[in-house]
Subunit: 345 residues, 4 copies
């Protein structure tokens, strides 16, 4: 039984972590922290959890956390974890950080997208937690920078094809669509019900911070600088993310080659489901689960590959992948605690 | 390991049964039947299930079903099961029927709400599957008539208070609200997206067939004829059901007495969560789970009790309770396969 | 051409007023005030209005308002208008107040629902702006207290039947359902997208401030004290309100008598549409318009009338009825500026 | 007063036409036809219209139509109008056809996207009804092929920039998102509430029939063959369409040049609103109106223009533009009957 703490338990990603961990057979939840709700029971903050979680939220105190937890998830706004995680690591606690703080190996890239990093030396030790791609390194890691939702839903379909040279590394366009829960539990006009409902719009066009994150990993995979065009859109639904990716085919690859390449890479990966029949994935089919469904179509006359992927932004895009990473780091079955069967409707 | 079949696997209740049973540790799914999709793989009809279900839908053949299944769920339109179930019972198969066919002990009541019953003799053997209330009888049953969603969400809060004489048996009004999935997967203008979206309306006002079902069980519980006013409403959401029940207080009971009564009845019942703090239940907190959340407020100046209950219409209101009944009938833990932690968002 | 100002133009009711008034042929919008957005163009705050409104929001200054407006709408939180309206009235400006401040003729009732009233003497002059019911008094009024959305949707169906003695004045239950825009544009967790979406729940059970407002007008109509049970519910949609009202029939009235009574009262009222065929009204059919659709069914065995009404909470429930009142007060056609044909989908 | 008929009045586009025309000051609706609802009152089929439309649906009879109408809208499935329209034209009736039948000047293109055309000679006379672009030709036309919704939302932003050589004619990608009403009122599993709700997915990837329509007009504008990549997506909302268009910049144009070009083309066009401040358009801001909002951002490092446009798929994307075309063809103000102020929420 692993003792686990969640730092920042009352945001959406934090609460989703708690939900998954509450039912995880290899884990005991020992501490939940929340600045805002310190002193309140977690199931008073989220009545959905009643009967499954009986912990009370606490203020964050590093000593207390180190005392009761072997593994810690930090689900905090970026720039907060980089001041907490070093101490946890010093105390031999394994950490999965859900912010952007440990996603970049290059402090310069982090600085230009966010701000100057306060512990750049830890970036070398941190492993990017895209579970299916970096499994071996994650298994050895003490600190995982858990990927953003957009990067997860973009990198999983792209990396194998880029590595195998099936698509060109230049000219890639990513049109991404996210449910509103991706914006978190903090209040804003954008996420006010009447503003988001019955509305579709782009936002942060070509300036979203997930773009450099995606480019950084793609560049690493391709062995050369990759510069994409990335446009996120807000969808009138709570959960789910879809990316439609437009990539120039590098050679004379046909749809079968695309399917074969993806099939080979993800053959033993339980959470990746490849649509080999040309049907586009639907966010509804992965909702509340850790699956990533991937489809593809070739626009022949333009020699352009159209890749489509669907995830649940809070599960495979955040808390679910974080638990998957914990499983890998602690030698448990990769899907332990993540076996929810997707809902048919 | 119990061998289980689902007859009518490709409606919403059927598919939800398959989802739950696919992950049930004490069950092996051996046969799925569907008239419409016979020959197709279940996970082609519902791609959400890919990786979890690899059966192909078959046409219904009684011999084949009897051969491979010990327990059968029938998820069919009313009047179909009453022509199938007798043969299953003859073959010593335990049956949980999700239609109305075996919910009424009195064939006359069934006839006036539906049509003349073709095997009234089986009605005596059938047990009404409101799990928390009729647990002991269900444990002995070979045939369970699984309750409708509205009756489940109405009877669970009402029965204890009626039995204890806290509320009057006359003058009860039930204002019920259901998500669209309650109308099933069959196509209709009412359930066309643009007709149901951004719309609230009553339907089948005071003539819904769940009303006599509710009245029949309430009358039994109260020991005298109960005649309620029942108005269902269609809500612009996929899943969830809420009932707001207005009942005259019988004596001088206060809110604490209501809470004490409900608490006593449901003390050891995992799926019933009583809100003792006056907060109304929210369908969101039980979505995709087998929970029934119950709240209550007293309108003092009118001496009227306001009871509110929330369930997921396809889980506690259909497939989940059906599996709960199977667990009870086969001596398994009541919540086996039904331990999904509710989603915080 | 009447010069009109909107005080509090950037809440949802205020913006809806601006939308209607911008296209009103007998009106010139001369001033919009907003504390929060003073200095900003209205169509920057609400880009939907671009091309139709070119005013800039101003801070509220009484002299400036009196200078440029003949009629003023105040769309402010309760207790604010009672400190502003007296000065407007002194300056011979006609005022339609959308808050609760001038809805009660009895200062005591106002005080017990809200707080001590700062200008009780004005309450006598104020007319309750339920347009179809108090037309004659509104026509003479200088100050109208515009009804709340729940009261509008409850009183319009109830008043004729109560006055004609078709229903009893005791034992009335109102189960009301509102779209989220009713909660306004201010941020709150309740109206956060992911909290309201796919969710149905009651709130302020039997303690909502619209209940005394309803009771006050019903008592006046019935000539005796009426005490109702009122439970509002939040619906997962932006616009629309439905009330389902349960009322004991007083004598031996049949459905035809109900229809005849409502027909007689609302014969010449363009915005009231009576469903004489038993079909329940649908909020979708009145969305974005000033209509109130009313249906009714009798539950014979219980001798209970079920009344159902649907409005758009921001139009007939707020801004639309306010403009209707302005039309009446200024001698224009009652439906001037309010002729939007409801959208078929 | 122009006498107008709507052939196929009970689909969503037809009903929207009826709604607009019912309030159009220069028009009298004289005939509505519907195969399915012949004999029924239009406001029984669409109760929203009660009080505004009192016509009864008729079966289609060419003589009767010619007798009572000067202008006819045909809102029928493709391939039906091409067998009706020739007779209407012979009878000197002006026709606006909302199907694809008269959108292609080249019968070969029509044949490869749909089927062999039965009256190719009429294609020469037909004018493509993209109102802002082909105003002069529409003014002279007797027959207008009203554009599809996707083409409208794609061509309006693209044409000026392509004509002015600001973007390249090759390498254009269109990622389009549509509300469910675009799929019409006919029943299908795709548009069943629970299948479309809380779901985002692509469909007809690179094979949608609107793609050749777009390419045909773009090619004409550019004076050379244009081949785009077009992927439509279904959004969980009733109304609204957004296109995000990725186009390589041809020279060294900056954002200001894009704005200047669009501004010049659409200077006097009331229904086009250019966002010159970089904010993306939101479908919510044009809902229920004939506006097309256009925004743009340049992805500098890739020298790629990102164009975004938003319309209401049933108004500017169908019925509204059709009425706009009628106005142009009959010498009325272009926006007559189309002046609905967009709703702020």
């Amino acid at each position: 039984m692993i003792s686990v703490g969640v730092i920042g338990a009352t945001g959406y990603a934090g609460a989703e972590l708690v939900r998954i961990l509450a039912a995880h057979p290899g884990v005991e939840l020992t501490i939940l922290t929340s600045r805002k709700y310190a002193g309140k029971r977690m199931d008073d903050v989220f009545p959905a959890l009643r009967g499954h979680v009986d912990l009370r939220c606490e203020p964050f105190e590093i000593e207390r956390v180190c005392e009761v937890a072997d593994v810690v998830f930090t689900a905090l706004p970026h720039s907060v974890p980089m001041n907490i995680v070093p101490k946890l690591i010093e105390n031999n606690i394994k950490v999965i950080d859900l912010s952007a703080d440990f996603r970049f190996s290059d402090p310069g890239r982090y600085a230009s997208a966010y701000e100057v990093h306060s512990c750049p030396e830890l970036l070398e030790k941190a492993v990017y937690g895209l579970s299916e791609i970096f499994f071996e390194r994650i298994a050895e890691a003490e600190l995982v920078g858990n990927p953003g939702c957009y990067p997860t839903c973009t990198l999983l379909p792209l990396i194998p094809l880029l590595k195998d040279g099936i698509i060109s590394s230049s000219g890639i366009v990513v049109d991404a669509k996210s449910g509103v829960s991706g914006a978190g539990r903090g209040l804003s006009l954008t996420t006010h019900f009447c503003e988001a409902n019955e509305s579709v719009k782009a936002y942060k066009v070509a300036v979203h911070r997930h773009e450099p994150e995606i480019e950084s990993i793609l560049s690493q995979s391709a062995g050369l600088d990759v510069d994409i065009t990335f446009v996120p859109h807000l969808m009138p639904m709570s959960r789910g993310m879809e990316t439609t990716i437009y990539a120039p085919l590098a050679g004379d690859a046909a749809a079968d080659d695309v399917g074969a390449c993806l099939g080979r890479y993800y053959e033993r990966k339980k959470f990746i489901r490849i649509h080999t029949d040309g049907t586009p994935p639907d966010t509804r089919n992965v909702r509340y689960t850790n699956f990533c469904d991937i489809g593809y179509v070739i626009d022949k006359s333009n020699r352009r590959l159209i890749l489509m992927a669907a995830i649940d932004n809070l599960v495979k895009g955040a808390a679910g992948q974080a638990v998957q990473n914990m499983n890998i780091m602690t030698g448990q079955d990769e899907d332990c605690g993540l076996t929810t069967v997707p809902f048919p409707v």
